[in-house]
Symmetry: D3
Subunit: 284 residues, 6 copies
């Protein structure tokens, strides 16, 4: 069973609205290698786990639980990027002009038509998230290798998306997730090490240096690239795998730690012109 505390796993840094950035970071939420995919893939792999060697199940499940918080972080980031991008303060639904005419120029139009300027379960091209992307084939080694590919591709994509806007809200979230993807890549690579693989200098994939991303540095200093946050309220064997030397060239020791302290969720203002939430006069 799952429990919740109303905290984000990382900070939302405020910056200007940026609908084009919101469009492309949707890949990180609802794309084939985004957080919804990692969340659901590890959910199915851990629920469908076979056999007695529970340390692998605990590892996969441990990452799964964190991914739920990642989904929430990206949803909130998109909301922040879209908030205030259309109507002016004084905008009124029936007046002349077309307050969204400019806003949708390089935006995903569904952000405005469907979602009241908030996140959607779609990718950067507007394609909806699809269950056929989940890989859970029951062979533990194939599953772990696929997870390595998934985490590697996730960070590869993020390193490209990062170049699409200098918006601070956008880059901070991407930077945090790139560091965490590194940790999760380490987790699955390490699990394969327990089965006898010696990775040599292969990791990290792609071959990036987190310290070149200014926003990443503080997370590296906190050791987040080598930490596995523990969200279990009971015992877990995750530490039997996630320990010892990192399989990445960035080195360091892997360590199971407490989660971050939690960050508050920004409050989205009402948008009467968008009928959102739509309660005005209803309560009067």
């Amino acid at each position: 069973m799952y429990f919740y505390k109303e905290d984000l796993i990382n900070i939302i840094v405020p910056d200007r609205p940026d609908p084009a950035a919101a469009k492309v970071i949707q890949e990180t939420l609802g794309g084939q290698f985004g957080e919804m995919r990692t969340m659901m893939q590890y959910f199915f792999q851990s629920a469908n786990f076979r056999g007695k060697d529970k340390k692998y199940r605990d590892l996969i499940r441990g990452v799964f639980i964190e991914e739920i918080s990642h989904v929430e972080l990206v949803q909130t980031t998109i909301n922040e990027l879209l908030n205030g991008s259309g109507y002016t303060e004084a905008g009124d639904a029936g007046v002349d002009g077309a307050p969204l005419d400019e806003a949708i120029k390089h935006a995903n139009p569904h952000h405005y038509i469907m979602a009241a300027q908030s996140s959607l379960p779609v990718d950067a091209g507007g394609n909806p998230w699809n269950g056929s992307w989940v890989y859970s084939h029951g062979n533990l080694i194939a599953d772990l290798l696929n997870n390595v590919v998934l985490e590697s591709t996730g960070v590869l994509q993020k390193s490209r998306i990062y170049e699409m806007s200098s918006n601070k809200t956008f880059r901070e979230t991407l930077a945090f997730l790139m560091v965490r993807d590194n940790a999760h890549q380490n987790a699955f690579a390490k699990a394969l090490e327990t089965l006898g693989v010696d990775w040599g200098k292969l990791f990290p994939i792609p071959n990036y240096d987190l310290n070149k991303y200014p926003e990443c540095r503080k997370y590296v200093e906190l050791g987040y690239h080598n930490a596995q946050f523990n969200f279990r309220l009971d015992e877990t064997k995750i530490g039997e795998i996630f320990q010892g030397a990192s399989p990445s060239r960035s080195q360091g020791q892997l360590q199971v730690t407490d989660p971050p302290k939690g960050f508050s969720i920004p409050e989205l203002p009402e948008m009467p012109n968008e009928h959102s939430p739509g309660l005005k006069d209803m309560n009067s």
Copy 2:
């Protein structure tokens, strides 16, 4: 942030393997009105919430957190229904015969080809779960009405799926979820009552009598149809809505309660013929 305790929200009652039942109950997991839809819909609605009237956000989020446990319950139910449905104990991958020849006759072939006889993120027809089903339009009233339709259709479908097999594993899970759908229907209907609607005798939808389902009775006696389990580790305003008389004709008083105590997850045996988990000899 999300936390986990390795417990199922309800019991898995053992019975014989039943791949045809596994196929149709996939609708309850990955169908358009299944638990993955409810989980993701309430996740997006609560993350995208606008305005200060947080009791509605807390209500939607409260149901969302329970739905994660529902997804896990249905995954586990499908695994139990498929377990042992193919190979014999002595079955061996290279021997003569075709141990899965009979098993796939009325089954979803992907249960055997992809999933090592376990659950998939698809519906009863084998179509993958799709993000376009999530309804989160930002107008709170429209969102709540859609949630009422979603819960009503969920229980309507379950009452039909229930008739497709007398398997006990299958029916127990369906029965538990039908009672919980009733509670969630009450939750969203009640939220609309706070906005002035008087539902008359409309609920429950469909017009069923839970007591006619033998497996449901004990859950009704426990008051599960009028309870909202609270999975929050911090404060919540859900009780400002979920209280007072039930909007259903079944009557009773709505009440926020502790979650069930939790049930253990059955261990799935290894299947060497299916190379699942595939560790044999790797560790030697």
Copy 3:
């Protein structure tokens, strides 16, 4: 604007329930070459028509209007095939047993889970109808050729589906539509004749003899293979194309005629166990 009279375009011949037949004839409703496709393709082609040569637009639109009635005919046929296929008269939702256990063996499970034993906008494989199938490319010649392929494939598929059950409800509808497809094939082939093509012995495609299908004969005798029913309440130039010798080897003269007199729609009984329509007690 569109007007309606509550009549079917052909008779529904009663026979036993046949869920497997209902499953495969869905191809004729919601498949890539089914009646929903023809209806929507001709709708878009006529609405998007360019230029002054309106006899072509009137021809396409004339076929479009009839296709709406075809969709209704196939929906009703499917309903008749499914009706009574599950529960017994005395069946009751909560009793022991599983009244749908046998029904779904070779059926589309969504006919029972979603549709209360009635028609769905899907094909024989359960895939939903898809707008990308509509061909309306604006080049009249390419559009007409595609329409010839569409009608030819429609009747080719029906001649194969016909062999999948001897059910009378099923075969009567298929037979009527095969004859009408022949007429529509003639319509588009004739339109291409006005542009200079001489088809030789190419038609009909496939090279079938309608008179070998016992159910078809009466429609051939009524001249339905060479008739274009006129559903216009105002003037139409369709007769400028649909006239003269048939382009098919079956010969005869093409002629615009009045529609059939109309047939009554069978009333579907209530299904309290399916909560369909779900009004019981609501009105009391």
Copy 4:
């Protein structure tokens, strides 16, 4: 059976070409809450209707028939918005330059590649219309509630799309449809009133004031928000539901009336450079 008179249900107001507006108003045609969805949903609900209480079937069918005309109105609106948006009068296919280079900047490229600058069965993101969106579950109350959500969401989306361009062709069609959506919302809400619901101040959803939209006012003055146009050529029981006080706060009395008088369909010019219709020289 269905009959046709070559008239649009509302006027097409001329204005400049606007491909970006054409792109977003596709949501109203082929989107999940657009006119193709309402048309097909009510088509299936009325064809699959069970039981003797025919006034509900007549209501659903009555709205369905009007929706066919709505689809045609939006198709024609899109054609008008795209017409003249690319080639100059003197444009010639083989000359230097790239006449469509600018046109596609904020357009749906398929409007130019597939559709000869005319409408497509897709949404604002270019996703094709999909049959899985049709809700026809056989439980009349669930169907009616879903119809309320569908009409409410339709008008909510239109009120947002309206802000995306001040083009008159675009806004006039949206305004007419917003008023009609209000009438259809009233129809389904009223049907639920006959089953005992008291809506209080819930309607309209969203909580908009039609009179703030300048183009809407004349339709409100004509009473179109409280009228149900009758397209039946035979008897109908629709008036047994659609009568009495409006369930919306806008008040007034519901009334079944004759349809609008009909408006002529603008003729689209030939586009030789687009080979549309492609007849030039063929007839010579």
Copy 5:
């Protein structure tokens, strides 16, 4: 069995990067009427061929083999259009600024997120290629007619895409393919002539004059519009159909010839910022 020689079937003319052109020419690669469709459709039609009249199978297969080279030509064209469109030479992943900010304005964002600035199996709207587009219905006449529609639509779309950019890389490839589509249209039209059809003045569809496209002229002078390249290493009966007078008004004699001599594939430079290929330091 299939064999390969590392040569392109036509030249890649160098020009400036043009991501908007890359986006729209994806239709020619992965669209419903693009080269992947023709390749796979003729693959299935020839593999599934029935009966002894092998000249038709050889014709279809002959076109299929050429289409593999067409797919490769369009992939390479897209790569050339995207190459150099983002990062500057000195660009570095972690520096300030956002090197892709401008590049993605009118681009397909997946060209940058997924494909390291290279081709994807999608259409101009970003929709993935789909197997349901393949038409192989087993009736040879219907298959041939569908192939005529496919080739006609392919060239119709290319004549429209051609107008979307004056980029030389883009137009040269389109021009070559338009001439080859004409040859393939002739091939299938001629096959239908052997079955008795007299096409009159119907072809080419659309009614274009290849000589008006400057880039096409040289290919017309080489006779490519009336030639069928032979890629068979054994005997083929294709010449029994592809001979005699062209069915197009452009006239000339059809002739089976040797393939073009082959053109070298441009080398794509490494992109360290894109981690592509990602080998740097790995080999050190």
Copy 6:
């Protein structure tokens, strides 16, 4: 450019018709981990290759070319399994009875409705092949790892499908492909070895013993699990990678060899009742 010789890459062993086997082996043709996926993935990866280290491109392209022959082998296998599965010799389209009634019981209905009893570009569940499955992300290491997962999953699925029928046509093709998948798994694993990975005892994935499959033994004796067939008509650097000790525990030396000698393609008989090919009387 691509060249062709009309030979299959392996033998088609005759056996009885088996439509259920045809249905499930479609996964190997059009499934997410089937031969169409491997073919298109390696096509895109080799066409989009960046940089000067051409031995990797040659390796990927070499496997791609073989995969075209694999697609043809599975198409032909499916045709053989379906051939004769419906109509009797004397079957006649118009007679009483329903010759396909039994055939479709456990079959994919589209094999009979669309494909004239032959192969389709779909998976075992009837879902069409989809371009979004192609992984070509431009990072060579991630691409190679994904290829390892793809080949491993391909053989894992085949080892499960193998158990679904004892049909000889079916098993012979599966056995040949399992051995070839092993060779391709070796190819990509070896490429990663050149980048420093030491796989230990990880391969093969899954952990199977080819010699337990009776049909596999002769291919193992021929050394097919350690051979890379060379289909290039010019030079290739594939041998710079594909050489030395196998990365699998099955051991042996990797070696580039000539392709198999080729096997004749069985001729499919005409099916007049299916109008396939549909030429009867057309040529008279």
